[in-house]
Amino acid sequence: MTVPSLTFSRLRRELFATPVDSVITLALLGFLLAVGTAFLRWVLFQAQWAVIQANTTLFAVGRYPIEQQWRLWLLTGLLAAASGLCWGLLRGRGTWPRNDQLAAGILIALAVIGSWALKLELPIQLRWWGITALLLMVRWAAGRWSQALPAPLLRLVPLVWPVLYLVGMVLISGGLGLMRVPPGEWGGLLLTLLEASFAILLCFPLGILLALGRRSELPLLRWGSVVYIEFIRGAPLITLLFLGQNILGFLLPGGLAPDRVWRAAWVLTFFAAAYVAEAVRSGLVALPPGQLEAARSLGLPMHQALIHVVLPQALRVALPATVGQFITLLQDTTLLSLIGLLDLLGTARTVMANPEFLGKNAEVYLVLAVLFWCCCAALGLGSRALETRLNPLATSKA
């Protein structure tokens, strides 16, 4: 049992080396303790969480029609199953490493404590438990039986996600026999995630094309890309959002202009694409020119050289900056509330304007902050995992 004493001596060495150090350490500890207890006291005893508990559905999906909400539950279930499947295939092998146990524990705790703290109705609580159980069961099954499946079938698994995205779009908006739910009725977290995922998925390929265009030898293509990127980067997003709401209505003949929600999604996409293009360009610049020369001298035509040699390396370099851009994009969706859309922040503002919940801003904003933090942390974790996976020589811990 030398470890605790080692830690203790190290603490003493680093935090209490001199009397001045000790005073600073104690003062900071006291300050942190005071702030921490005050915050906890407020969270546990003073804050009135009824404003959240009474509006969970509103925060989650806005004014999505109640009798159609089963579609969203179905989608959540499908997402959970797909996540479990990929989780099991990537990390399974019939075992649960310690980090996976931790993740499973957090998921179960979220389902139980979360639904208890939010005072969800029993049927809804049951649904969350069911979805969590589904996720963990699929993960277990996928890990256990992945070896038995033929390799060509396993290679098709990533296709689950684009298919699921299209299925999700149909489930959310209707069509194919389902009742239509116009975008104006989507709201809350649903709208936020929808706008963000749509923009993230489309701005990425668009950004790559712009970055390649900016380095093209064709003057028209190069200058077109430069003008586009610099124009977008020179304008604040909020002005572009207002511009998008107003100008598209003028430019396109009546009825052709997409719905306000989709207009905003396209503006977000075009906005983020310019920034992604600059991130990708930094990756392209970092690549030694000999790579393209080697590929071309082997007889690869330009597009194959780009797809197989240049982009895989450039995108790996650009990945951290690109994901940073995605995270910014997710947070930028809050601006949609300023153009009158009921995203997470917009919904929160309507709730806070309700006389019944007047003065409960702190509670609402805290929950919003936690929700956004969770989404962004997930993006960040995913990108770091991808970075390690993409680096063939990831032996250094530095």
Binding site: G299, H308, Q313
Partner: protein, 250 residues
């Protein structure tokens, strides 16, 4: 050996002139004829245009005047023509330029499967045989970053050979190597010359030039100064510029 002039011409460069965009003239009317099976070594001080010259053969550099015919195909700006020539001409670079995100084996199989559209299994078989030939068979599943410089350059040679080129260009293949690794790369090149590959080599390795070259070409200031068989070039150079260069590298 038969007289090289009896064999078909693989590269025919006539009066090649090149200006860089800043106005500097890198090539001032260079002529060169390479026959099948010949090993032509180009030497010269740095900045003499020798690298630029062999890079025009597979259109990595353009040129403004003159003409180049490679394996019967005149070089033009047509993209298809350029790709066709590059399929027949392999190139080995000073900095190896292996693809770091692919394994050694994938480095070899990438172009044949994509460009020649040959079945993957067959190409892998051939790639493993080539790796065996250059002596790094057991490293096939490693990434280039895990190999020494000499091994990387041998992989780069094997990668070019996997496209079954009719001509191989070497642009200072040993200049970036630690001294103890130069020999292993030169040995592979020597073996390649022995089996009759047409080669144009830019190098400073005098011993390689003496032993392997059919002809040595000395370039200076963007022009060919002297062109002679190695025994004559090293023992009895005809031009003052050649004597000066040889005295500098010895």
């Amino acid at each position: 050996m038969t007289s090289p002039t009896a064999l078909p011409v693989m590269i025919e460069a006539r009066g090649v002139e090149k200006w860089y965009p800043n106005g500097f003239q890198a090539l001032r009317g260079v002529d060169l004829t390479v026959h099948q099976g010949e090993v032509v070594v180009i030497m010269g001080p740095s900045g003499s245009g020798k690298s630029t010259f062999i890079r025009t053969f597979n259109a990595l550099e353009d040129f403004q005047k003159g003409s180049i015919v490679v394996d019967g195909m005149p070089l033009s700006n047509d993209v298809r023509n350029i790709d066709a020539i590059r399929r027949e001409v392999g190139m080995v670079f000073q900095q190896f330029n292996l693809f770091p995100h692919l394994t050694v084996l994938e480095n070899l199989t990438l172009a044949p499967t994509l460009v020649r559209q040959r079945p993957k299994r067959e190409v892998e078989q051939q790639a493993l045989e080539l790796l065996e030939r250059v002596g790094i068979h057991e490293q096939a599943r490693k990434y280039p970053g895990q190999l020494s410089g000499g091994q990387q350059q041998r992989v780069a040679i094997a990668r070019s050979l996997c496209m079954e080129p009719r001509i191989m260009l070497f642009d200072e293949p040993t200049s970036a190597l630690d001294p103890e690794m130069v020999q292993e790369v030169l040995a592979v090149m020597q073996e390649l010359a022995r089996v009759g590959m047409t080669m144009v080599v830019v190098t400073h390795e005098v011993r390689f030039a003496r032993q392997v070259a059919s002809r040595v070409v000395l370039m200076a200031e963007g022009q060919v100064v002297e062109e002679a068989p190695p025994e004559q070039f090293f023992a009895n150079p005809q031009h003052e510029r050649s004597r000066q260069f040889l005295s500098q590298i010895n």
